[in-house]
Amino acid sequence: MSGHTSALSARIEALLFYKAEPVSYKKLADLLSVSREELLDGLNELEKALEGRGIQLVRNDEEAFLGTSAAASELIEAIQREELSRDLGKAGLETLAIVLYKGPVTRREIDYVRGVNSAFILRNLLVRGLVERVEGEGRGYSYRPTTDLLSFMGIGSRSDLPEFAAVRAEMEKFAASDSEGSEGKEEKSDDAA
């Protein structure tokens, strides 16, 4: 079952799922190399296939979008509350500390300094408005603390952080030892919008 032989509705589903935002019919038809008519048929088919499922197709005259089903709305609200109130935990605090002391810092650098992958922790910190993404120098994004975070912690300037220079220097020294290419999944990664 290659990408080309699977049903059009399944391919539309994969695309909309991945993009996680409304996509115009024109763009969909281009990406899937089908005509507008074929696309609309495919969308109808997908709509039917999704009946009774946890996700649904939302569309207007020009765009399509995949969202959670109306039936699940209570559940989703509960998840949102949980996400925002959950304890950051040791991993969350460590990641936050790296962003505070070393930011702006790339995900790759955070991963390397922590010795584990930080993709999902960073996602949570972003959703909670604790860190924000800025365009980095090269490809990819860097992360830095939000002003909300700084004022919550009563930090006027980052040099207010205890031993700021020393800790930052040590993190930088280590991050610099990352030999190019020895690591995997790069920045500009799955959380690139």
């Binding site: 799922f17 991945y18 993009k19 996680a20 935002e21 925002l84 109130s85 959950r86 304890d87 950051l88 040791k90 969350g92 605090l93 460590e94 936050l96 500390a97 790296i98 505070l100 002391y101 300094v113 922590r114 010795g115 996602r123 972003l126 959703v127 909670r128 408005g129 604790l130 924000e132 939000t146 909300d148 975070l149 919550f152 912690m153 009563g154 930090i155 952080l161 205890p162 031993e163 020393a166 800790v167 220097a169 040590e170 993190m171 020294k173 280590f174 030892s177 030999s179 020895s182 799955d190 959380d191 690139a192 919008a193």
Partner: protein, 250 residues
């Protein structure tokens, strides 16, 4: 702590098992004592060429080399009785090689699948605006603790193997020493040469010396400089010159 040196090994070295398996596969042999004795020489010459192993790794090589020499000497001198422990280490080596061989086969499956048909997660939705949601645990004190914990778990320079390595005399050196002493005395007890008595339990460095000496001895034996004979089952191995300079093969 700030002065700590960080050093991460950036190169991935093959271990002794990997090397052995390479050697066996190169000759298209099955893993058993016959194939192991056949590749022993290759293994030893590899060790001799590679002087600069990362610290710590050479000990592993020497240990595998000593097991190989048991296998090899048994094949040279079938009369040698192996202790239960020696036989155990031979069996263990064979078993580990077979397991590694299996893992290598399986790693080909991993290779054939990895990155070929990727299942992608959703991109992060731009539809969702961040909501500032602090955690009360975000205090200055906790952030400092977290930063310290990050710094403390950075990999440190590895220190200890240096001690091990100092104790491992190079193969050449031992061969030289051995040759010189053989020239002086015709009959020489291997046990004396290794420099330990009959009684005491061997400590690690002695053990390594014994292994290295044994290794050198067999190297010489192989070259036909000396003949190896064992007078008695539990006695020393005696070495004597046959006729120096004239190669003699077993």
């Amino acid at each position: 702590m700030l002065e700590e040196q960080y050093k991460i090994k950036t190169q991935v070295f093959e271990g002794p098992l990997e090397l052995l398996l390479d050697l066996i596969e190169k000759r298209k042999l099955f893993i058993n004592d016959i194939s192991l004795s056949q590749v022993t020489d290759d293994f030893l010459s590899y060790i001799k060429e590679k002087e600069n192993f990362p610290l710590g790794l050479s000990a592993n090589f020497i240990l595998v080399a000593s097991t190989l020499l048991l296998i090899k000497s048994k094949s040279l001198l079938p009369s040698i009785e192996l202790t239960e422990e020696e036989q155990g280490s031979i069996d263990d080596l064979e078993r580990r090689l077979k397991e590694l061989e299996r893992i290598r086969e399986l790693s080909l499956h991993v290779k054939s699948l990895f990155g070929k048909r990727i299942i992608f997660g959703r991109l992060q939705s731009r539809e969702r605006k961040p909501v500032f949601a602090p955690d009360p645990a975000m205090t200055m004190a906790n952030i400092v603790i977290a930063a310290q914990s990050v710094l403390n778990s950075l990999p440190k320079k590895e220190m200890k193997p240096e001690v091990t390595v100092k104790k491992i005399i190079s193969l050449e050196e031992t061969i030289d020493k051995l040759t010189a002493r053989i020239a002086k005395s015709l009959k020489l007890s291997f046990r004396d040469f290794a420099g330990h008595g009959t009684d005491s339990a061997l400590n690690h460095e002695k053990k390594v010396e014994v292994i290295v000496s044994f290794l050198a001895m067999l190297e010489l034996a192989k070259q036909g400089i000396i003949a190896v004979s064992q007078n008695d089952l539990f006695d020393d191995i005696h070495m004597e010159t046959e006729s120096i300079g004239v190669p003699k093969y077993f």
